[in-house]
Subunit: 228 residues, 2 copies
């Protein structure tokens, strides 16, 4: 469902070039549960932003469902981001002036879901991740791990086919972290979602079907987990 | 060196009260290496903010070096924060308009260290944490783990006696994370620093002398690691 072909991302800083991705070839199957690992600065978030259609490569091509995303207009990309892809950002990117509930309702409202249905769905997910009694808190009134769980809830709100999660358990204790990972495994299994998770979490790496290791902007190796 | 006596922190939200800390009694010895663990939302960051003199308790008392901090004026508190305590924030709190180098130099400049000495010291620490080639990047031009390492560098810049680190490896791969933890162990051993780290990291918990577990705003238990 997603393919990267000779993908480069080069950041230009004055006269200096920072090549964050240096020739990535990767094919991700529909319904796959994939982990992305690698050292800090190896290019994981950069790759996630490209897969999530938030950015375009400097060289190479990215295909989504067989189509080259470079050919998509902004409104098509916006629709993909709004409906097909749920993105959990490494730094959460919550709207500081909206409550947890409002933050999770936002993507639903952008898809023209009526307010009471959006509210009901948002409350359901927030309750699932253990934030039922924090729904009216602003991000500044939430702990780090609570903000992370709001970001996770927001990504799941529109029930997207593809979930991109950038270090979704970095701020969670191991018990809450396992709960989130088991939840991802469950929707992967039950709803056949394509799940791509950047993680340093050993438990998660073991649960993925494949693990792509990045090093200095390149694919260093890919491991396959043999599971039943 | 630090003592919490019957400490409560209650957040007021309209008519609702959120008791983040519910009666904490804790004594931390000078030169101790202490870990704080507990579920997301259990009160760890709140406790760190009180220990770091960034906030005052709703009830109870906090002693620093034997003195009740409630008796300190703002300029004394500012001096303590600027010289005695190095704080690594869970969400980094870097100045977005300053480069990595400028962010790390800032606490030194506040202590009236001359610019060339501040620059030299900042570069030294940034090199140590592997960011030598990222010193002129703005936070927005850095990966999550790189921003976290800038936050760590900034906390260490003034060579404080007390280091408070709130989940300092949450965004780091295990190799970089171990490096940071070994570095904290080294300055603990060599410079007899008091180090208090909030963490979910198993490696770190094992390396601490004591581990304080928080649950729902209270100390659930304290474990002692017997080491040589
Ligand atoms: N300004 C605030 N107003 C209201 N409630 C708050 C505020 N700040 C924090 N809280 C609540 O206090 C509780 C403790 O927060 P704290 O940040 O100390 O948790 P934590 O143990 O650091 O969690 P995490 O591991 O997720 O970072 C949380 O449940 C949070 O929702
Ligand atoms: N806007 C930018 N301008 C210049 N360099 C950048 C920019 N954004 C990222 N970089 C650099 O690109 C490299 C890859 O960044 P990326 O965020 O993809 O890393 P990462 O693998 O997600 O790391 P982490 O595990 O620390 O989050 C980093 O070394 C970073 O400094
Ligand atoms: Mg990243
Ligand atoms: Mg916290």
């Amino acid at each position: 469902i997603i393919q990267l072909e000779g993908v480069w991302k080069i950041y230009q800083m004055g006269d200096v070039q920072v090549p964050a991705l240096r020739g990535i070839d990767l094919k991700i199957e529909r319904g796959e549960f994939l982990a992305i690992a690698g050292a800090s600065g190896s290019g994981k978030s950069t790759m996630m932003n490209l897969i999530g259609c938030l950015d375009l490569p400097s060289k190479g091509r990215i295909f989504l469902g067989g189509d080259d995303i470079a050919g998509f207009g902004e409104s098509t990309l916006a629709q993909i981001r709004g409906q097909k892809i749920g993105f959990v950002f490494q730094q959460f990117n919550l709207i500081p002036t909206l409550t947890a509930l409002e933050n999770v309702m936002l993507p639903l409202e952008f898809q023209n879901v009526d307010t009471s249905t959006a509210r009901k769905k948002a409350l359901e997910i927030l309750n699932l991740v253990g934030l039922g009694d924090r729904v009216h808190h602003l991000p500044s009134q939430l702990s780090g791990g609570e903000q992370q769980r709001v970001a996770i809830s927001r990504a799941l709100a529109v029930d997207p086919e593809i979930i991109l999660a950038d270090e979704p358990t970095g701020n969670l204790d191991s018990k809450t972290g396992k709960f989130i990972l088991d939840f991802f495994s469950e929707i992967h299994r039950k709803d056949s979602k394509t799940i791509i998770i950047v993680t340093h979490d050993f438990y998660l790496v073991k649960h993925a079907e494949r693990v792509v290791y990045l090093k200095d902007g390149q694919v260093e190796r890919i491991e396959h987990n043999h599971k039943n």
